[in-house]
């Protein structure tokens, strides 16, 4: 009797265990399936758009087929380049401040400000940069777009760089100080080099975060059917092209939008994979 009762209790427990295992696995499976489905959709639709012209030609007038999106590819590279140049020094200095003054009231204020900045919708950043840079300079520009993207990536980069600074063993700093190295030199020559790979990763993830942003570019980079290398003038970008093309009634543009989506996804994915594999080493 007793043995049976134990057995059945054991069975119910085993059943419960199986049930919850499934209950957890199914959503997990759905998440993986979702990623695979999205990637498959983008690859299937996007691959057809890819040809030599797609990478090297400018946009055709409305409704004409052919041409390419070189203006958007180059535009995205310019915007991301500009945003790194703007965001990196700020996030480096901010994270150094957090590192050096940890626990202080000001550092807490700074940390809160960075967290809050992360929560600001990116469309708002676009509108603000429109009135801060576009209107005073009297032109939409890749500079304005780059600054908007820099603000988008700044919080993520700062907190990541800060984390990588914290990971440097404090004994390094102590050893340097004990040898009589001034604090500022210890930070530049010991702490920063030791966290260089962390800084690189932060930059990579910041770029991946900003690459797909559309909203901050609508009122800043503005778009351009022509290839432009000007910092002071408007440029196109991959997300802008996807946004414009997919709403159009033109089949050729729909296909190009998928092609641009494929490029963007490949770029962001390879950045993530690259960073992931670096972390393992």
């Amino acid at each position: 009797m007793e043995n049976n009762a134990f057995k059945s209790r054991h069975q119910t427990r085993a059943q419960k265990d199986r049930f919850f295992k499934f209950a957890v696995m199914i959503p997990a499976g759905i998440v993986v399936a979702l990623l695979v489905l999205i990637l498959a959709q983008v690859v299937i639709n996007g691959a057809r758009a890819l040809n030599v012209d797609f990478f090297f030609k400018e946009q055709k007038p409305f409704g004409e087929t052919g041409g390419g999106i070189v203006q958007a590819i180059v535009g995205t590279i310019m915007l991301l380049g500009t945003s790194i140049v703007v965001a990196l020094p700020f996030s480096l200095l901010a994270s150094l401040y957090l590192y050096e003054h940890r626990g202080s009231k000001r550092a807490k204020v700074l940390a809160t400000a960075i967290n809050t900045l992360q929560g600001i919708p990116s469309i708002v950043i676009g509108v603000v940069i429109y009135s801060w840079i576009v209107v005073p300079l009297r032109s939409f520009s890749s500079l304005a777009g780059g600054v908007a993207l820099a603000i988008v990536m700044l919080p993520l980069m700062t907190s990541m760089i800060h984390a990588s600074l914290e990971m440097v063993p404090s004994s390094y700093l102590e050893a340097a100080l004990a040898l009589g190295v001034p604090r500022w030199r210890a930070i530049i020559d010991i702490i920063l080099p030791a966290s260089a790979s962390g800084i690189l990763e932060a930059t990579g993830l910041g770029v991946a975060r900003a690459a797909g942003e559309t909203a901050p570019l609508i009122f800043t980079a503005f778009g351009n059917p022509f290839l432009s290398l000007s910092l002071k003038g408007p440029v196109s970008a991959l997300p802008l092209v996807i946004y414009e093309y997919i709403k159009s009634p033109y089949d050729d543009w729909h296909q190009k939008a998928w092609g641009a989506a494929l490029l963007l996804v490949l770029f962001v994915l390879s950045l993530n994979v690259l960073i992931g594999s670096r972390k393992k080493h």
């Binding site: 055709k60 007038p61 409305f62 409704g63 004409e64 310019m78 380049g81 500009t82 790194i84 140049v85 990196l88 576009v134 209107v135 009297r138 032109s139 939409f140 920063l192 080099p193 260089a196 790979s197 800084i199 690189l200 503005f222 778009g223 351009n224 059917p225 022509f226 432009s228 290398l229 000007s230 910092l231 002071k232 003038g233 408007p234 414009e244 997919i246 709403k247 159009s248 009634p249 033109y250 089949d251």
Partner: protein, 348 residues
């Protein structure tokens, strides 16, 4: 250590690249606004680039967006197919001028099985958009199209969600033919729509209609033609059924032309005229010396405008826009000649 050096070098190179890129600043002009003429403009500007090497970047963001940008003085020119009313001139920091560029048609397009050719009157279109006619096989549509077997499908009206000159002309027409429309909805770049669903820009409305069976929308003729969408024949004020075509659009613009070019063409009394024809304009400041603008920029702009109303006209008919009639070109020439830089005419 090695990695760090690499990293620094990379950063330095990125900086140099950006510096070099900004030095390569080719001559460009920037405009934004109306999507109604965008197929014609982007074609013109493509040709203009081939002949002059000057890149004209036109962003089709909607007429209201173009007017806002010219108010903010962040573009060289704005595009609009609703003209600025006298009472709105005060919103602009200086005197502006309207240069007519092409004439187009707002067509009523739809997505039905087999896309039969349909006939619609202004009153019926107004009642569809008022939400009073909700089915495609409604008696009032069937009466106009006895030969067509209409499906028992709900009608989904699609309208412009952004401020739009196309909406301005469309609602101007509906206000002219329907008193109920005039009193309930009225005529503006954006109105509050009693029924339907919104989409941004001409391309957006065409895109939604193309992908939604049972929908109806209003777009510039070129958008419908380029994507093989049908356009309803509409009964004009003379009682004639007219399709939007080069001939019927030109016919509605054959009347007198005011010197400042601000004129609506809707509900024409020309016998063969298409009733929702519309002019579209480029809007610039009369005095071009503002902010940090150079004389060279002003000259590039004036030359582009001059080219658009002359040589540029050769490219519009292939896209189903009508060329400007002679009186309109004459008025436009005088307006372009009135553009000044520091008080001196830009074009001599």
């Amino acid at each position: 250590m090695k990695r760090n050096v690499l990293f620094r070098r990379g950063l330095l190179m990125a900086l140099c690249l950006i510096g070099a890129a900004s030095a390569l600043n080719a001559q460009t002009l920037l405009g934004s606004g109306a999507t109604f003429p965008a197929p014609a403009y982007t074609k013109m500007f493509d040709e203009y680039y081939k002949t002059t090497g000057i890149k004209v970047n036109y962003q089709a963001i909607g007429s209201s967006g173009g007017l806002k940008n010219i108010q903010d003085r962040v573009v060289d020119f704005g595009g609009s197919d609703s003209f600025v009313k006298d009472t709105d001139f005060a919103k602009y920091p200086a005197s502006i001028v309207h240069i007519p560029t092409v004439i187009g048609a707002v067509v009523v397009t739809y997505n039905l099985p087999g896309n039969p050719a349909l006939r619609l009157t202004g009153e019926v279109i107004a009642d569809i958009y008022l939400g009073k006619i909700t089915k495609w096989n409604d008696k009032r549509i069937a009466e106009l199209n006895p030969a067509v077997k209409l499906p028992n499908m709900a009608i989904m009206p699609v309208y412009r969600s952004d401020g739009s000159g196309t909406t301005f002309n469309f609602t101007a027409y509906l206000s002219a033919v329907s008193t109920e429309w005039k009193s309930k909805v009225g005529n503006a770049n954006s109105v509050s729509w009693p029924a339907g669903q919104g989409a941004a820009q001409n391309a957006g409305v065409a895109g939604v209609v193309k992908q939604t069976p049972g929908s109806i929308g209003y777009v510039e003729l070129a958008y419908a033609h380029q994507s093989n969408m049908p356009a309803a024949a509409i009964k004009n004020s003379s009682g004639v059924w007219v399709d939007a075509s080069l001939a019927s659009i030109s016919a509605s613009a054959a009347g007198a032309f005011p010197p400042d070019s601000r004129i609506l063409l809707v509900n024409t009394n020309a016998k063969e005229g298409y009733p929702i024809s519309a002019l579209t304009w480029i809007i610039v400041y009369r005095e071009q010396k503002y902010a940090s603008r150079t004389l060279e920029q002003a000259e590039h702009l004036a030359k582009l405008l001059w080219w658009m109303i002359h040589d540029g006209q050769n490219f519009v008919e292939a896209l189903d826009y009508a060329k400007l009639p002679a009186p309109a070109i004459k008025a436009a020439e005088a307006i372009i000649k009135s553009i000044t830089y520091d008080g001196q005419p830009v074009l001599k």
